[in-house]
Amino acid sequence: MTTEADTLVSTQVYRVYIKATPQAIWDAITKPEWTERYGYGGRAELDPRPGGTYRGLTSEAMRAVGSPDVAVDGEVIEVDPPHRLVMTWRMVMDEEMAAEGFTRLTYEIGEIEGGVTKLTVIHDLEGAPKLALLLSGGMEDLGAGGGWSWVLSDLKTLLETGAALVPQDGLNQG
């Protein structure tokens, strides 16, 4: 039986304040020309309507070491630009994580206040312990990147300074 407590443990919540407009943050999350510039550096393909498909592609650096073309797939559940995006999200690059199935990812982008916008990421990872470990940064030493904290830190730096923290070929994808 799944108790409420089990569900809670499997939810990860991340928040960052960024000196940028909600629209700029929305674009950085949904548009491939932005998603390739921070974090894992892959292009996103998103059809922004309920039922639309989402694909997170691997970066060139990842493909160069033998990764498949698609890292993440999913389906849009709810979309309200530039404030709210809910989708299913499954890591397909790794067999075990793919077998954990679809998780649920929510982006909440607040109103701009004093030049700053609040971005909250809520990832419901019920039944996906290996993916949860990856996204919490627990596999960074294995060259798997630092998960959501790392991605959001990099996103903040990109939007505020125009440059990513990590050169894209610096990610050691094994």
């Binding site: 809670l8 443990v9 939810t11 990860q12 919540v13 991340y14 928040r15 960052v16 304040y17 909250t120 809520i122 919490s136 940064g137 630092g146 959501w148 904290s149 790392w150 959001l152 830190s153 990099d154 903040k156 730096t157 923290l165």
Partner: protein, 107 residues
């Protein structure tokens, strides 16, 4: 006080670090759950949680009638990426300069 100041101030207290450790073990807890692990009044725990929330280290979300507390590691990551890495780079470049100077000197 800027964002980094609030994070360092929040982390400077052992009770607050204890609360973060409890959330690291199991995230999404209520005030009642967190309070049960500390020899402290409910008001005292609330005060610490508020400082953690103001520093961005704890994010609360409502679920039904309950308010749940989640650990938000992003502010610590930001300090790591932008502040600690800066010194690491400087040290590397200082070593590179030293090497350069030594090699120049021996030539």
């Amino acid at each position: 006080m800027n964002d980094d100041d609030r994070v360092f101030k929040a982390l400077s207290d052992p009770t607050r670090r204890f609360l973060l450790d409890r959330l690291f073990e199991r995230d999404g807890r209520t005030l009642t759950e967190l309070e049960s692990e500390l020899e402290m009044t409910r008001f005292g725990v609330m005060k610490h949680l508020r400082i953690l929330e103001q520093a961005g280290l704890v994010v609360t979300r409502r679920q039904g009638r309950e308010k749940l507390h989640f650990l938000n590691p992003v502010p610590i990551r930001l300090i790591h990426d932008r502040w600690i890495d800066k010194y690491r780079e400087r040290r590397v470049s200082a070593l590179a300069e030293l090497k350069h100077e030594l090699e120049e000197g021996s030539a």
